[in-house]
Amino acid sequence: MTETLITGIGVISSLGIGREAFWEQCRCARSGIRRITGFDTGGLQSNCAGCVEGFNPAAWLPPMTYRRMSRTSQMAVTASIEAVQDARLDFATLERSRVAVIMGTAYGGSSCIGEFFDGCIDEGPQGAHPFLFPETVPNAAASHIAIYHGITGPNCTLCQHDLSAEAALHYAANLIEQGHIDIALVGGSDELSRALLTCYGALGVLNDITVDATEPPVPRLQAGLVPGEGAAVLILEKSSTARTRGAQPYGILTAAVFAGAAGAPGYYAGSHAIMLQALERAVSQAAIDRSRIDQISVSANFSGALDRREYRLLTDFLKGCPRTPAIHPLKYLMGDFGGAGAVRAAALLLSMRRQERLPGLDVEILNTQGPFLPQWQQDCGAAARVSVMTSTNVGGATACLVFTAFDT
């Protein structure tokens, strides 16, 4: 496998706008789940989510650029700007056709889709707004990133529900491996919208949290997902390119494994067997012993079906392991969305750069019901050299990524 490094990170999340703010919230395990104020939540099952607060696209983008973008696109482009700056990429000196933009999203500009169709219902064909329509396609964010930076290499968007960003990372790594490109801006983005929460509510999959302006939201474990929003962009780079330009890598993407089992739409695979298989394959591909794993980011999202499967996955995988890694369910802090995998990867990589493990939770919490009263264990003195990310989706797909420290 061609050595693939991560050399830049940009994050817009409910835990903070920008990489540094995000990291501070992560290391202190402060929740970004709060009351939704961005749109009317009247009649919705829940009025709380992992909302990005205080994001002002005008601080990053010219008005003519951001005004025609969905919130998803705005967050994605902004995260890409931060990532490019962080990696010190100078497109004037790069062959732009050898740079890719690969993004993952579950629903893209869902607010635009909702608004667009509301216009059609209310006013018929005359109500279809031509400015909204281009933002209803999932690939809008990736295209805006390419337009903003003038990147003419491969451009692709993957929609694999909650594994969308993981799928994007896999495809980007494949493009580097196959020699198509040298560098990829890869990540994920999604936005909260009334249209989306209406669907989730109808399906009965939401954690029922309704609070007034003064109450802090307390999600219940195994009681339904807490939705979220945000964007993260990572700069993936072929090792030789990164070394030549003197980049300072956060880490190495050592393994990326996808696998699938049978799963009906809206339901997880029947057991955690395929997740375990993917995890074992990834660890084997990375050529590491499981006792060397410092932290595992799991995709637990407060939904009982997923959290219980991840509990079984970890207890089976870590059976007999002399050392327990930190277990980090970031979605417990920021909610769940299709592009969340990129934000989770960013958290792991930032912790590796800072030689500071993410705070973890006892694995038993994944198998617990009731109010989430977090007891994050901080082991700030411990370095993180090997980080694993496991992710599982309704429909039966599962993914596992391994990041290892970069030694100069």
């Binding site: 329509f133 690939n139 990736a142 196959q178 696998a259 699938g260 049978a262 809206g266």
Partner: protein, 417 residues
């Protein structure tokens, strides 16, 4: 040329459902006879739209094609995709228990997924009628058809759904090609599925990109595209793996390229730089020179800008003289623009053209356009020797994909029907 150590990739199975034919033989028959499937839409109300037709799949009850247990909560997009997948698996000789699902991956392209189901749900809610069944929302995500096919056929390897609008399923074939070539697996299910929906109909209409008549790609009086729906599944397989199974191939996948224009969300760059670069890149990756291309299946939407720009791009890549000698056709003139499925449907048309050594026509072509002055195979198919062929897909956001297919050696090739 391809090094003997490089893993070769062939198309070992096909499944197609479109407005012109609901299986490969019917699609093929229509393709080479120039039949058009574009007609009045009755899937939803088109009153008030300047254009009221599209390439809608004619089957009155797609659900009747399946065992009800197979299609619980399935969207129209799912049904189209499952129909094409069933044909493709049978065509490739992949009966249950005869292949290793862990050695197979699935990469599909998607456009709107189950958007039509969501629209129906929203309309019911807004009408105040009895509460609609929320389970129809389960089919909304674009990846649902990928998960359904993977689950139904026990595909245990890599799974991905590409959503780059009109180039989605062409890119899925490219990704599948990479997965086999890299040795990740021996079989990849690729292609895409798309259902008509009110949002896309209204969206393209609002952008004034739809022709009030059936679309007329490359014609001087063309006014825009016609939408369509359908699905195509291409089973990609490592050459030796297919040979050992005794499966004859339709064609070989020689390479692909994808790029981005980085110019505009809905318009191609007028200098055709992105389109020409993606075609050149695909030829380079396939290891062939321009003079080996004997057929181009164009993106050919029928919008004034696309067809002129694509023509210019082809001239840039092949030179004026060679470009004029290559037959070019638009499958969209018959089936409409099937968005997320269009790249796969056109890839299927391209491999069938290679198999039959014949080029399908561009129908509704009446008046030559001085700005589109190449050979668009007007209205009638023709026999033509094809060694290699190019299939173009250009999408919103400037997402371009070109695929290169080649003829397989006689011993490994299927017999044309």
């Amino acid at each position: 040329m391809v090094s003997p150590t490089v893993r070769r990739v062939v198309v070992s199975g096909l499944g197609v459902i479109t407005s012109t034919g609901e299986c490969v033989p019917a699609f093929q028959q229509a393709l080479f006879s120039g039949a058009c499937g574009i007609g009045a839409v009755d899937l939803f109300d088109t009153a008030g739209f300047p254009c009221r037709h599209a390439g809608q799949v004619k089957h009155r009850d797609l659900r009747s094609l399946f065992n009800p247990r197979e299609i619980k909560r399935a969207s129209r997009c799912d049904l189209l995709g499952l129909a094409a997948a069933r044909e493709a698996f049978a065509d490739a000789g992949l009966a249950p228990g005869t292949y290793d699902g862990a050695n197979a991956a699935i990469v599909l392209g998607a456009g709107t997924g189950g958007l039509h189901s969501w629209e129906r749900y929203c309309r019911r809610v807004r009408s105040g009628a009895a509460a609609p069944c929320p389970s129809q929302l389960l089919g909304v995500p674009q990846c649902t058809i990928t998960d359904r096919i993977a689950s139904h056929y026990s595909i245990g390897g890599h799974r991905a759904t590409i959503a780059t609008a009109c180039s989605s399923s062409a890119t899925s074939i490219g990704y599948g090609f990479d997965l086999i070539r890299s040795g990740a697996c021996d079989i990849v299910i690729t292609g895409g599925s798309e259902s008509l929906s009110e949002c896309t109909f209204a969206g393209f209409s609002s952008l004034r990109l739809m022709d009030a008549r059936a679309c007329r790609p490359f014609d001087k009086n063309r006014q825009g595209l016609s939408l369509g729906e359908g699905a195509a599944i291409l089973i990609l397989e490592e050459y030796e793996h297919a040979r050992k199974r005794g499966i004859a191939a339709y064609a070989e996948v020689l390479g692909y390229a994808i790029n981005c224009e980085a110019f505009h969300m809905t318009s191609p760059h007028p200098d055709a730089g992105g389109m020409s670069a993606v075609m050149s890149g695909a030829l380079e990756r396939a290891g062939i020179t321009a003079d080996h291309v004997d057929y181009i299946n164009a993106h050919g939407t029928g919008t004034p800008v696309n067809d002129t720009t694509e023509t210019l791009a082809i001239k840039k890549v092949f030179g004026e003289q060679l470009a004029a000698a290559i037959p070019i056709s638009s499958t969209k003139s018959m089936v409409g623009h099937c968005l997320g499925a269009s790249g796969a449907i056109e890839a299927a048309a391209t491999v069938l053209a290679i198999l039959r050594q014949a080029v399908p026509p561009t129908v509704h072509y009446e008046v030559p356009d001085p700005a589109c002055d190449l050979d668009y195979v007007p209205n009638h198919a023709r026999q033509h020797p094809i060694r290699t062929a190019l299939s173009n897909s250009f999408a919103f956001g400037g997402n371009n994909t070109s695929l290169v297919f080649g003829r397989v050696d006689r011993a490994s090739a299927r017999t044309a029907q």
